[in-house]
């Protein structure tokens, strides 16, 4: 019993994470001496690092019951800004600093716009971020003039995405750093507490004196910031900026969050779960490649894993509590 509790605390409340353990076990057996090696783990982490960084910020709107579909576009635009700035200002370290800060600022501005529109006009975030996705990709095209902007120098910029620290790619460090930062914000600050609370019951929060509008805006800013950061890392990793960078990353991010136990209704989910979720997706892709399944068929496995994870979770909860919304089947069981 005690042991069980320990494992539970490690994985959080979500049942879905057990799937990860199962998948890893299978792969370890299938690919002995290859899958479960430090080098391979490193390679998995590297492969998820870009959207792993995004996940750390995109979780904020998700926790509020919102969504941010513009993260890919923001990443492209921020990367484009940083690279063009560095290229235009002579590849100096100073230019790198300004470029990176500028890219982040761009992400933050997009976040503010989202937050303000969502709070002021009560429009569905799904739609508004889908529309701004167009605009932000447009900005990325403007910045790059639809060309590939190569940026091989300076070393400081290349280090962001391609460097190594203690034998571990720097982008993984950034991902861990962002995850920890995000963890601290979500779990150790008042703002983080408010995010969960507003996501769980906005009206109760208002009556408890929480400035929910501010909480929402800041959450979208967080999302924009991490998207921008991941875009910059991606640009550095590829030593270039292209307008269509990070297309489709919105899906990766959502998948990671959902697999990691976040509920799109808000109020539920943890950064730990999200990173585990991202890791699981990475593990699956990696595992399928190692086993030699063509990338064409990865989707089938992904679908099954996601559905299994979420359905398992839903099932367990459905059985366990009356908390679940909806479902007429419950009404009788609920006590007066």
């Amino acid at each position: 019993m005690n042991k069980k509790m320990d494992i539970k605390t490690i994985f959080g409340k979500s049942q879905r994470l057990w799937i990860l353990v199962a998948v890893m076990l299978v792969l370890t057996v299938l690919q002995p001496g290859v899958f479960l090696t430090a080098a391979n783990m490193k390679s998995i982490l590297l492969s998820i690092s870009v959207y792993g960084i995004m996940v750390c910020g995109t979780i904020f709107p998700i926790l509020l019951g919102g969504i941010d579909l513009s993260v890919g576009a923001v990443a492209a635009a921020a990367g484009a800004f940083t690279v063009t700035w560095i290229v235009d200002h002579g590849f100096t370290n100073g230019a790198v600093v300004v470029g990176v800060l500028g890219g982040l600022l761009l992400g933050a501005i997009v976040g503010v716009v989202h937050g303000v529109i969502v709070t002021r006009f009560a429009v569905p975030p799904f739609l508004i971020t889908l529309a701004t996705q167009n605009i932000v990709y447009g900005v990325a095209q403007l910045l790059t003039e639809n060309n590939v902007i190569a940026c091989m120098e300076p070393a400081s910029f290349a280090f962001l995405g391609g460097g190594r620290l203690l034998e571990i790619p720097f982008s993984i460090w950034i991902m861990f750093f962002m995850a920890i930062l995000s963890y601290i914000i979500l779990n150790k600050t008042v703002f983080g507490r408010n995010v969960y609370a507003v996501g769980g019951n906005a009206e109760a929060c208002r009556l408890s004196g929480v400035r929910s509008r501010m909480v929402i805006i800041l959450s979208y800013v967080a999302s924009g910031l991490t998207a921008a950061l991941s875009g910059i890392v991606l640009a550095s990793m590829n030593r270039q900026a292209i307008a269509k960078a990070a297309q489709g990353y919105d899906n990766y991010v959502l998948t990671a969050l959902v697999v990691g136990g976040a509920s799109l209704m808000g109020g539920e989910g943890s950064i730990l779960g999200a990173v585990w979720g991202a890791f699981l997706v990475g593990v699956i892709s990696n595992g399928l490649r190692l086993v030699g399944v063509a990338s064409d068929y990865h989707g089938i496995v992904k679908c099954i894993v996601i559905v299994a994870a979420v359905a398992l979770d839903a099932h367990v909860r459905y059985k366990k509590s009356g908390l679940q919304k909806s479902s007429s089947l419950f009404r009788k069981k609920e006590k007066a």
Binding site: K188, Y196, G200, N201, L207, G267
Partner: protein, 503 residues
């Protein structure tokens, strides 16, 4: 001739505590039968058993003399029992006709015969002279009109019995009158009505018979001639109880005024509300559902805007922002606990901490140890069960949820606590604990405004009782010996004892 409905020796208990103890209840065809009783007397449980929402523990239901089982709403509907819910259960984006016919559309191969259905609904509307049209969309209707749609829905099912639960709670006088006309019409048509209401004058005006429930037992069944407001009130409360719960502790406070409300008005909801609250005082707000008490409190707290009037706190005009009001010592426990009181997925600790981050945090960072300590302290201080501050509030029982909501405020330097229906849906033991908490708060100088529909509670806890009626302050009891009867009469607009009525 057999009665239309007969419920015999109905029993029901929740968690071992009996709610209905062998209740008998019967309705004749074409009669308006009022069902009255204090909160917790067992009215709604009885109705829920009748409509198949709760299973009964014992007893038998007879319909036209035949024993029947009602396991779900469908069973009830097929017998001919229609219910007008307090919270309307219409589909807002559909038309009146679609709502009325929902689930029983006349159709051929899946295609509805709109013409025929509209004709049917229009006929019904005309027959009863309702003020709605068949093709109006429900969300554009007023609440009174929506209620008539609910009634139409019941009528269209050819219900023999329609249950109305506090139907006039949110209606204006004119709208109520229209409803009474409808009920008259129903009676003429041979449709029976079970009419649940706290409003004596309505019951007096409408009902053919009246059953009074008290503590899960049938106290009396009165015929029209026997119905007399004062008697009914006495029956509802019970003589011994009335004596036992009478309050001798009413008094005026001479402590400084903490909150002064003057001329507070919100169009169509309440107007010209004025009262004063002193330091360390517990003031009860009595009134029937819909009297405007909750709305007044929300406006004072800053949750809703108001149209006119002034609110002064310790001599200074009060801000209209919740956050600022909390900063100067306000606390607020809302009526709708589940939707407004707490965040169900979060633990007791996190819920309690939500209002306290001004002290529990430094530079935006939560002092985790202090937060945890507060949670543990509060669980201990309020004896919240189970005694673990990490359990999500949504998983607690009603009483413990309410304690958790209260706990949000208790560690603060509270100057004024507004608490709306503090013990609704809470068991007796927890009630007492909550009263003790309120009393202790007052002893320490906090002013408490308690909105309550529970007369016993009002008398037990309050030092003064302000009675609201139809959006206005009706009277105030602040001295002498007051019984539940007095308050209930006042709520119904009858003054037995001269308080300091504003009028």
């Amino acid at each position: 001739m057999a009665a239309l409905l007969e419920m015999k020796e109905i029993e029901k208990s929740f968690n071992g505590s009996p709610v209905l103890k062998k209740v008998d209840f019967s309705v004749e065809p074409g009669e308006v039968h009022a069902l009255m009783g204090e909160n917790g007397a067992g009215k709604s449980t009885l109705i829920k058993i009748l409509t198949g929402i709760y299973p009964k523990d014992g007893g038998q239901i007879y319909w036209n003399g035949n024993p029947v089982t009602v396991d779900n709403r469908k069973d009830a509907a097929s017998l001919g029992i229609g219910v007008i819910y307090q919270e309307l259960s219409l589909i807002p984006t559909l038309t009146v006709m679609q709502n009325v016919m929902l689930g029983k559309e006349q159709s051929k191969l899946g295609f509805v015969n709109a013409k025929k259905m509209k004709q049917k609904v229009t006929e019904l509307i005309e027959k009863y002279g309702f003020a709605v049209k068949a093709d109006e969309v429900v969300e554009t209707l007023t609440i009174a009109q929506r209620q008539t749609v609910e009634i139409l829905k019941a009528l269209s099912e050819e219900s023999k019995l329609i249950i109305m639960d506090e139907p006039t709670a949110s209606l204006s006088a004119k709208e109520s009158d229209a409803l009474f006309d409808i009920i008259e019409q129903l009676r003429k048509d041979g449709v029976s009505v079970i009419y649940i209401s706290h409003r004596l004058e309505e019951v007096y005006r409408l009902s053919d018979r009246l059953t009074v429930l008290r503590d899960g037992e049938t106290e009396a069944v009165l015929t029209k001639e026997q119905i007399n407001p004062a008697d009914v009130v006495r029956l509802m409360i019970g003589k011994e109880l009335s004596e036992a719960t009478a309050s001798n502790s009413l008094r005026k406070s001479d402590a400084p005024v903490r909150l002064k409300v003057d001329g507070l008005t919100k169009k169509g909801v309440f107007h010209n509300i004025g009262f004063e609250i002193h330091e360390g005082e517990i003031v009860g707000f009595a009134g029937l559902v819909g009297a405007g008490r909750t709305e007044v409190m929300r406006c004072i707290y800053g949750a809703d805007p108001y149209d006119a009037g002034t609110v002064e706190f310790e001599g200074k005009p009060l801000s209209k922002q919740i956050t600022k009001n909390i900063g100067i010592g306000f606390g607020f426990v809302p009526e709708d606990r589940r939707n407004q009181g707490f965040t169900p997925l979060l633990s007791i600790e996190k819920n309690v901490a939500l209002t306290n981050y001004d002290t529990l945090a430094k530079n935006g960072f939560v002092k985790a140890a202090a937060e945890k300590k507060l949670g543990v302290d509060m669980v201990e201080r309020l004896a919240i069960k189970p005694g673990d501050s990490q359990i999500p509030v949504g998983n607690l029982s009603g009483g413990n949820q309410q304690k958790a909501v209260l706990a949000k405020w208790l560690s603060r330097d509270l100057k004024l606590l507004i608490i709306d229906e503090p013990t609704a849906g809470i068991d007796i033991g927890a009630k007492d604990e909550i009263y003790k908490i309120l009393e202790k708060l007052a002893e320490n100088g906090t002013s408490v405004i308690m909105v309550s529909s529970d007369l016993q509670e009002l008398l037990r806890v309050s030092q003064r009782i302000i009675v609201m009626r139809k959006g206005e302050v009706f009277t105030e009891f602040s001295s002498g010996r007051i019984t539940q009867e007095d308050v209930l009469m006042a709520e119904s607009g009858i003054l037995t004892k001269e308080g300091e009525a504003d009028e």
